[in-house]
């Protein structure tokens, strides 16, 4: 298996009136070809900013201050803007949460998909349309030829998201960053897309970083999981292991607070307090004020422990089972 994406020490900061806020803090992970990594976190944890940072889509006042993003061995951050642009869409593509915002409402689906083809390859218009039709067929859109003639508003939400995924697949990129792509969809449509994505990954060998807040989606879709809290990855490992025996108290709390696993009507175990403000983080472990296992030592930066297959950032991790 080849490593499609490797992120090393990625740090992204946003300048604010009260000084720099670190949204992504020393984040490292890698994704192999043909695997899906679920990047899980609550709002404000930095999961989406991580996705945007990998794509190099951070605008002022944000700035990637440190780290490497290696796509098939090429560090995106070493490249000039032009060279970066030619990687984007061809080697690494992105699917966003709301396809109505990302598709151009005044262009036919076929026109915008053909445009995406011709940006990177010198082919005729009709050849580009053919490529677009193939891509739509791959993601399971019936009557793909007719759909190319449609405008985005004529498609349902699920169809639009399929178009967005098809567009990302046009150049068979090594990596796709998917930012909450099914959050806005209904469960029955979400189920269809998840099944489709799993099949595509198995067939094409694309690596996917699936950014989401939904643990249930990740547990049934992803091969690996990384859990983010306050800008850091606090736990990572194979999906089966992280879900079955979480070692970070935050991951444990998060999994416990999902209603489906408990006797109906029983009090849900809850994490006290609320997600921290990035501008005002406690020293050391940011989860410290909400953590049942916290001690004095937690005021210092916790170390990585565990194995490569299941690593945790905590002074007092739960026992590995």
């Amino acid at each position: 298996m080849t490593v499609a994406l490797e992120v090393k020490g990625l740090t992204t900061q946003f300048g604010t009136r009260n000084g720099a806020v670190t949204a992504v803090n020393d984040v490292s992970f890698s994704v192999q070809s043909g695997r899906i990594m679920g990047l899980v976190g609550e709002s404000g944890s930095g999961k989406s900013v991580t996705g945007f940072s990998i794509m190099g889509l951070i605008d002022e006042p944000g700035r990637i201050t440190d780290g490497q993003v290696l796509v098939q061995g090429t560090n995106m951050r070493d490249l000039k803007p032009d060279a970066q642009r030619s990687m984007r869409g061809r080697n690494v593509a992105m699917v966003f949460q709301d396809p109505m915002m990302t598709l151009n409402p005044v262009l036919r689906v076929g026109d915008q998909m053909a445009m995406a083809v011709r940006v990177h390859e010198k082919v005729s218009k009709s050849a580009a349309w053919d490529r677009a039709r193939e891509a739509l067929e791959i993601v399971g859109i019936p009557a793909a030829g007719e759909r190319l003639q449609a405008y985005p508003h004529q498609l349902s939400g699920g169809m639009r998201q399929r178009v967005a995924i098809a567009t990302a697949l046009l150049h068979r990129p090594a990596v796709i960053i998917a930012d909450e792509p099914t959050t806005a969809l209904d469960v029955s449509i979400q189920g269809q897309i998840l099944a489709e994505v799993r099949r595509l990954v198995d067939e094409t060998g694309t690596a996917i970083v699936w950014v989401t807040h939904d643990l249930a989606v990740v547990s049934s879709l992803a091969d690996d999981i990384a859990v983010m809290y306050a800008g850091r990855i606090v736990e990572s490992g194979t999906a089966a292991e992280v879900i079955a025996s979480p070692r970070h108290p935050y991951t444990r709390g998060l999994i416990d607070s999902v209603p489906g696993l408990h006797e109906p009507g029983q009090k849900l175990p809850q994490i006290p307090g609320s997600t921290p403000q990035l501008a005002n983080l406690p020293s050391g472990c940011p989860f410290r004020p909400r953590c049942p296992r916290a001690t004095e030592i937690c005021a210092t930066q916790p170390p990585h422990s565990g194995t490569d297959a299941h690593s945790v950032l905590c002074h007092h991790p739960l026992e590995a089972s």
Partner: protein
């Protein structure tokens, strides 16, 4: 069973979009009709006994929120009627909300949109009771304090503005505002959908505590099957404006009767099952402007027969506690005869 506090009787709601001036003129010339009617809720009957939490589950466009709004008196039904404790919930001839409708309080999805950003939360909570004269002016302060504490906030927060609160805290304020009216029925429309998982658990726990303390009756509208299972006694599943199945929560999750219900359960990813093989429902949700003939689910239903394409299934009682609207439970779909012929 105790007397139902809420009775929904064959309620329908249609929204009609009338065509623009040009189309209207064209219609007059050609004799066509370009107005479009959305059948948001069709022929829904439900009853809720005192103290019960009834879950209303469905995907977008199934009419669950419209139903919630009809019950709250925000929409007037196009047909049928809603009664609360025997009194009809309706607007009077001048369009004013009847006194009765203050007995139903609604909690909305987005606590960022449902609280006035320029009012202090104390004012927000006290506004309803003040206008309706439920508490004497001198007691307002202490009442607001007590309510805030009841929902797990500090009484001193009454002087803060909504932007000073997090999402979970805002939803607590919205709950306090609803409770301030001492409602007989709460309607929660996706009340925890916009909250993070860890915060969602806190708010669900609060709801279950309050429910025990105050013996609340509630409609709990949600698309989240695991949340509904956790907090509801009974569940009604809606599809394209109709209730297709009603059952006590434990029985429904154990053995769904309607093919849509089982398909819905099959397509939801759950924690702890590992890499699932999804059995996603085929096809898209049809448009409520032009719903399919017969059973609305038949184009997506793996078990549909010829009868399903022409005849709308009746709601039949599957047991004393369950009802379902499906031909399979009511004399067959016709597919059996086809196979025999």
């Amino acid at each position: 069973m105790t007397d139902p506090i809420l009775q929904i009787d064959a309620v329908s709601k249609r929204f009609t979009r009338s065509p623009g001036v040009l189309l209207k003129g064209l219609d007059r010339l050609t004799g066509r009709d370009s107005s479009q009617t959305v059948h948001a809720v069709t022929d829904v009957s439900l009853s809720v006994p005192r103290g019960e939490v009834l879950g209303i589950v469905g995907e977008s466009g199934c009419g669950k929120s419209t139903l919630g709004r009809i019950v709250s008196g925000i929409y007037t039904p196009s047909a049928g009627k809603v009664t609360l404790d025997g009194d009809p919930v309706a607007r009077d001839s001048r369009g004013n909300v009847d006194k009765l409708t203050t007995r139903v309080q609604m909690i909305h999805q987005d606590p960022f949109a449902s609280l006035n950003p320029r009012m202090k939360v104390g004012e927000i909570i006290a506004e309803g009771p003040r206008i309706h004269g439920l508490i004497p002016a001198k007691d307002v302060q202490s009442k607001v304090r007590a309510l805030l504490e009841q929902v797990g906030l500090e009484g001193a927060y009454a002087n803060r503005l909504p932007h000073q609160f997090s999402g979970g805290q805002r939803q607590r304020v919205a709950i306090a505002r609803a409770l301030a009216m001492q409602p007989e029925l709460l309607v929660l429309d996706e009340a925890v959908a916009s909250l993070d998982v860890s915060i969602q658990a806190q708010v669900l726990n609060l709801f279950m505590d309050l429910r025990k303390q105050l013996d609340l009756t509630a409609l709990f509208i949600s698309h989240d099957l695991s949340v509904v299972r956790h907090v509801c006694d009974r569940v009604a599943i809606m599809y394209l404006g109709r209730v297709v199945e009603t059952a006590p929560a434990n029985q429904l999750y154990e053995k769904p009767l309607h093919p849509y219900t089982s398909a819905l359960f099959g397509s939801v990813p759950t924690l702890g099952t590992g890499r699932a093989r999804f059995q996603p429902i085929k096809g898209e949700i049809p448009s409520p402007i032009n719903p399919p003939k017969g059973c609305a689910f038949h184009p997506r239903c793996p078990l549909a027969g010829p009868r399903c394409r022409v005849e709308v299934p009746r709601v039949v009682n599957a047991s004393s506690e369950r009802s379902v609207a499906c031909h399979i439970q009511d004399g067959g779909t016709g597919a059996e005869n086809e196979a025999a012929a």
